[in-house]
Point group: C3
Chain length 334, copies 3
């Protein structure tokens, strides 16, 4: 995985032995290799360290190009030939520690070159622009907005009051209403020896041209990839978009809609208020999701679904009508 050095500092590549020692592991390695990055197990390359949390059958799916992989003892046998196994009790936690030894998130006040603010851009007094950020022509940054280091903001884009943005590339003609939080760490938790631990998030947020983001909405940055909002997608207030989510063009998302990690939403999808979408789900292009729907599976393109758990709207309405009929008070015979 390539890491964007506008947002993260690199402390690598390092030898695997050094990394493991730094992180407190006493692993006996048959050989040593250079590690330059971390990645998800299906996309890890030669210099990448990945992890497998499950059993041997999961380990079989690790990309055979991967440099090394944290596994539990029982899963070790499944790893493809050539992938160096590092046996640990908590593979995802070990991966977290190593990734934090290789990379670090630039904090809001990280030093760096002065931001490049176009001469026609207007930055309010009281707004904060981090080192290395770029603000495009005729862009507006409202009072109280906080733009992290390295963030790119396109032409004519308007950033509202008290918005915060980090680890993000924002296109042209985007509108971000007040109070939105863009680019914070997604919600990932793993178990370490002391209890719950945050999983670090090394990706970005990409917001394409003409997107509008409502007040107090949140868009998390990706974990190993990017969270992407496609052109002209329109997002209402108090919407949550988790890490790695990829949203197409011209999507409408009403208030309180939430999309869980790594789900994909096709072009032109319309969501009523309070729609919830589980993680790793795909919503086909042009689908319509009724207000309050809870989506736990893929939705075919062009269909209309509703209910919790969601089903085709026609079926949902039929169920509602049937229950109502079954439970209606009986009329007394005259």
């Amino acid at each position: 995985m390539l890491i964007d050095q506008r947002f993260y500092d690199l402390k690598g590549p390092q030898s695997l032995r050094t990394l493991l020692r730094t992180c407190g592991f006493e692993s006996e390695l048959a050989a040593d290799i250079e590690i330059s990055g971390v990645a998800a197990s299906d996309s890890a390359g030669p210099g990448d360290l990945c992890f497998v949390e499950g059993a041997a059958s999961q380990a079989e799916k690790v990309n055979s190009e991967a440099g090394a992989c944290f596994v539990t003892d029982k899963a070790q046998s499944g790893l493809p030939d050539g992938v160096m196994a590092i046996v640990v009790s908590h593979p995802r936690y070990a991966h977290k520690l190593v990734s934090e030894a290789l990379f670090s998130l630039k904090d809001w006040m990280a030093p760096g070159p002065d931001p490049a603010i176009h001469e026609t851009a207007r930055v309010a007094p009281g707004a904060f622009i981090g080192a290395g950020a770029a603000i495009g022509a005729d862009a507006q940054i409202a009072p109280g907005a906080v733009i992290g280091p390295g963030v790119q903001i396109g032409a004519r884009t308007k950033i509202g009051a008290n918005v915060s943005i980090r680890c993000a590339l924002i296109g042209n003609d985007v509108v971000v209403h007040s109070g939105a939080s863009i680019g914070e760490a997604g919600f990932g938790v793993t178990l370490g020896p002391d209890g719950a631990e945050d999983v670090p998030q090394w990706g970005r947020v990409i917001i394409q041209d003409h997107v509008t983001i409502g007040a107090n909405s949140c868009i998390d940055r990706g974990a190993f990839s990017d969270t992407i909002i496609g052109e002209r997608t329109k997002i209402d207030n108090l919407v949550q978009i988790a890490h790695n989510v990829v949203i197409g063009r011209n999507v409408m998302m009403a208030s309180f809609t939430g999309i869980s990690g790594t789900s994909e939403v096709g072009d032109g999808v319309v969501m009523g208020g309070r729609v919830g979408i589980a993680d790793h789900v795909t919503i086909g292009a042009g689908a319509q999701l009724a207000a309050s729907a809870g989506i736990f599976r893929d939705i075919p393109a062009g269909e209309t679904w509703g209910g919790v758990p969601a089903k085709p709207l026609r079926q949902y309405l039929r169920e509602i009508a049937w229950i109502q009929k079954q439970t209606a008070p009986k009329k007394k015979p005259k």
Copy 2:
């Protein structure tokens, strides 16, 4: 429609021909008229331009006083006599363009007279007060609060940390907790030739005396009218109130409640957490809406409803009990 020049700049009146040319329309007009404003089709007056998105039957409902109206070719025949028809492919989009040629939202940093801050008001260092705003006696503006140009804030009102307020008139003894966003553009989207387009919002937010607004809640300004929160209404955290909503007095709204555009809520209504109300719905005075209710229709005054879609609470509970009974595991006969 009268536009509040504390919040919007006027660039009109203009001749209809000039407006259309500015917006790139090549419409052949039989005559020309002065256009001073835009309005919804049922309330448009002589100098107003309105639009009809539907068929001829919709066009028939346009106020016969309206100056001119964007319509599609097929709907044109329905317009009342005397309303000048301007035939376009995307009436609502055309209306958007023309309104933006007539008006513009004052941005956060718009120039103007110094704000009028009462000598007993306390404004924190790091708060921003826009041009032409007024802050009443004994009011408090917390650090990080951003008050837009022209906003009026009453006596003894407390504005919390990192709150943003624009296009709004706030009464006396109001409390706005931290992080709330008041007066941003409501969620309105229409289709233009390039895809989804934001519909501009030209109204205000009116918050009456003794209202309390919870942390991180959002109240959007009206589109062609005002969003109004009645006296002593109490709003919890993370609540969403959309454009044009009118809420009565002494209404209670618990966390995650959302009210969609143009709905009305009568005096004394009580809403549990996570209540969702669809657009263009009326909730009668004193109604009670159970937590998690999804309201898609008018609710009579004084009634208690629950469920999704909501029904009278008694019926809802009967349905729940019936389903549970039908599906209970059969006890084995001994």
Copy 3:
């Protein structure tokens, strides 16, 4: 009840007669006593004033140590011997008035000693640190963050952009993502002679070590006690935690989860997105609550529940399957 003078100013103790006169009550007291505090009726001590809203049967539950108690005329007879009764039409409203005569919340800009900022802590330009606050070693306070008077922030804790925190004690290694609001007044409303009135909140928020709080989430301070978030609990974006809630260790709360006042959540509980929990409910340790669940009753430890209103997940799934089967379109016989 002990009040934390880092967050509240005391104006007492005062004689009960003086207090009542200050608040506009014309109550004829047989005797006078010193009042130093207010409390909930079950924990009020000798110098405390409490209230009972219900009938005589409620008044019987008042702690017999309590100094005095506001009651309605009809409930008066239930009070234990030795508790001085003060008969009023709106007991909770009277209690509010008296508490506000005894205490006052320090506002964001309250004067006091300079904050104690550890020499290794980094406070961004544009952040606000109130009087008497303390910032620990290696802590980071991002731009736009607002830290109220007296707030304590532990070592290595990171406070995000535009976060606000008041009336709170924050541990070590805590992460608060951008836009979160911590320590605002909980949602409590009572009826006074003029309509709805906010009930004042005199408690704190306690956040233990290694807790993570998502962007734009809200945690309200307690009313008469503290809102507590246990060690290593991980909270996603746009989550609401109401006053007096007590959450254990290693709890996971996904986006849009809301916990109503005075509920308790045991160690290791896992909540999917959009879980709602009613007030005064207890969730046993290790319970799992499915996404979108609405919890209106206590949940036993270790169980998995789902649905609205929630039931054991197995039963919920059985009901869903049964309804679907009953309403499936009949296949035509060939």
